[in-house]
Every structure is written in structure tokens, then in C-alpha cells.
Amino acid sequence: MSEKIKFTIDGKECYAEPGQNVLDAAADNGVYIPSLCHVRGLIPAGSCRICNVKIAGRNMTACTTPVEEGMEIENDTAELQDMRKAIVEMLFVEGNHFCPACEKSGNCELQALAYRFQMMVPRFPYEFPLRKPDSTAPKLWIERNRCIKCKRCVRSIKTADGKNIFAFRKRGHEVEIQIDHELAAQMTDEEAKKAADICPVGSILYKEKGFSEPIGTRKFDKNAIGSDIEKVV
């Protein structure tokens, strides 16, 4: 028991297992640090940058930073919350997020963060890029308009022998998710569903199923994202 690491978030005393990252450790202590790319158990990507916290005056992503003894972490500050909201807004204008027509609406983590931050309209102009969806996989629909490039699928969905089924293509503003056609054709129902579930937005969809949950009963209809974490402890 004495192995636990002591640290603070916004002055609140917290305890972590050795080697735990700040984001997971915070959650275990009832503190929600918003994030889009992180999933507990996956190797952190540190790519959405939303979980940015301040440690010893430096901005660090909570998901990629291991907790250290005595760490003092700033999380809920006006500056950080403004930046996080700005990133969510960047993601909204960078893609084509037509929430009213999206199968993932209500269960979408990007949308849920926008709700949590009370985003009424992004401060940045919409880009309306032309992006091509990919429907060639037998069980999955890749809707690139909604992709936020979090790499959750890249990191978590692999073949039994460890090959990548998803990967990035191109770079910079042109980056897009590609699916390996050969390997996608061999995906089981279970694997395909896992891929759709791990996607935080409506970019990977399990074919021939959608809008199955009525409005009002979906994950974020009544409860803000992160509220489950904040309720614990």
C-alpha cells in the first residue's frame, strides 16, 4: 500500500499506482481530465492535445505523462479550459460534423465535449473540406468527414498476428484514415463492432445499423461526458 504515489490536482490530494499516467490516475481519484484520443489500456497517442495540463509551469498531455511523487498538476484553470474548448472547436471546423444526420449523435465524444464546454458555435470559420468516405469494407463504413484522427482505431484494431488494419495516409492537413481492404474483408463481426465502438465519433460505422437508440436514451443525452468519473469516489 505504501507504494502509492502521492500527487495533487488543483490542490486536491490524489494517489496513483506507479507507472500510471496522469489522466488515468486522475480518473481513479474522481477528477475528469477531458480527452478524445485516450482510451485506458491503449498506448497513449497524445494527439488530440485536449488533456493538456500544467505541471511545474509546463504544458503536458496528461495521457502521456507518468505520475511522479509530489507532482502538482493544474487541470481546471480558465486558460486550460479555454484551450481545450478551442481544440474541440478546431476539430468541428476542420471536418464536416453534421450532428443532426449522424448515427453517432448522442453517443459521440466530440459532441459530448462540445456540450460539456457549452460550445454554441466554433470561434473559427468552417472549412467544409471535401472528403471521400470509403465503403469498400464488407462490414464497416469509413465516414472520413467525421474523422478526428485520434488514431484509436490504428492503435487498437489489429489482426491476430499483429498487422495494422487501419493507418494514416498522407500528412498534415491532408491526413486521412485508410483501411486495409484485404484485411478488412477478413474481419469478424465482433472485430468490426469493436472498431465501430472504439471510434469516438461517427467515422467508423458498423454497416446496416444506425439510429437504433431513441433520442433521450443515448449516452450523453442527459449526462455530461466525464460525469461518471466525477461521481465516483
Binding site: 460534423h97 453534421f98 450532428c99 443532426p100 459532441q111 454554441m120 458555435v121 470559420p125 443525452d221 442527459k222
Partner: protein, 182 residues
């Protein structure tokens, strides 16, 4: 004190947001007590007859007429509110954004599966018709917008609470469930 004057319009929208205004049920009677409607499809006043306090805009701008109406609203209203997803981000009409206008016109009038009878391949080009914009613009990318009420449509409760707060000057406190994008 005279009643605040409210105007409303639907640009490239589906009138769903107007339906949602009416969806405040019996509070509509309170609303009529509280405000006076000017130019609006609700009372069918076609032109502004006096300066207004609040303009509610449904829909984005897909053609030149939308732009003219929106600019007219900006001129005549002290406060402009983008009401609903289409006004805020273009909404479903903006699904065409990114695709060249030429392709859209060809699909609509020449090559689309529902096109029949346009054997001469005529594209509407009469001067009386509104001109199509290169994309569907969110209202705040055409004129200055003061407030935004998201939703498709915005929940009736949201519209009511927001209008009430504006009129009374009270602080707007919205429950989590009310602000939704769908």
C-alpha cells in the same frame, strides 16, 4: 415600457426551428404577452414596419436572396440570433459544400436520377431567380451574429429560456439537457 419587437425568418432551412418556437405550447400565450412580432412567417408580416429588438434567423445562406434577407435583418434588428444548426453551421443544405457548384447544378438539373423532361438541358438562369452561392454559408460568416441557439431543432425550452433571459435581462442558466446539436 413598450414591448420588445421580435422578427423571424427562415433562410435555407426547413421551418423546423419555427415549429420549435411554436412548440413552447401554452407559453406561446405568455410570449405574445411579452413581445410584439414584426416581420415573421408566424404573423405573415412581409416587410419590416419598424426597428426590431430581436431577430431570429433559421437556416444558412445558400443563395443571394438569403444574403439580402439576412442583411436586411441585420440592419433592422438590434440583436440577431442564429437559431438551429443550419443557421449556425449550414446544416444539411451544407452537405453540398466542398463539391463544386457546377457538379451540384449538373446533378440537380441534368444528370440526377430524378431529372426527367429537361431534354434541352436548360439550367435556370432567369434574372428573377436568386443566384446560387458557391457554398452554403453559416449566418455569422455573412453578417455579425450576436447569439447562437443550437439544435435541430433547438429545444423549445431553450428558445423560451433564451428569449425570456434576453427580454428580462436575467442571467441565462441552461440545464445540460437543453443544449443539443440534434
Amino acid at each position: 415600457m413598450s414591448k420588445p419587437v421580435v422578427a423571424t425568418t427562415s433562410l435555407a432551412g426547413c421551418f423546423g426551428c419555427h415549429m420549435s418556437i411554436l412548440d413552447i405550447d401554452e407559453k406561446i400565450l405568455d410570449l405574445v404577452e411579452l413581445v410584439e412580432f414584426n416581420k415573421s412567417p408566424i404573423d405573415d408580416i412581409k416587410e419590416f414596419t419598424k426597428p426590431c429588438d430581436i431577430g431570429l434567423i433559421e437556416g444558412g445562406c445558400c443563395n443571394s436572396e438569403n444574403v439580402h434577407v439576412l442583411k436586411d435583418f441585420r440592419k433592422n434588428c438590434k440583436i440577431l440570433i442564429s437559431l438551429g444548426e443550419c443557421a449556425i453551421m449550414g446544416g444539411l443544405p451544407a452537405l453540398r459544400n466542398g463539391i463544386p457548384v457546377q457538379e451540384c447544378l449538373e446533378e440537380a438539373y441534368l444528370n440526377g436520377p430524378s431529372v426527367s423532361g429537361n431534354k434541352k438541358g436548360i439550367l435556370p438562369n432567369d434574372d428573377e431567380l436568386p443566384m446560387i452561392l458557391d457554398k452554403v454559408y453559416p449566418c455569422h460568416e455573412v453578417v455579425k451574429i450576436d447569439y447562437y441557439l443550437p439544435g435541430c431543432p433547438p429545444r423549445a425550452e431553450l428558445i423560451w429560456e433564451a428569449l425570456a433571459a434576453l427580454i428580462t435581462g436575467n442571467e441565462l442558466k441552461l440545464p445540460y439537457e437543453v443544449v443539443k446539436f440534434d
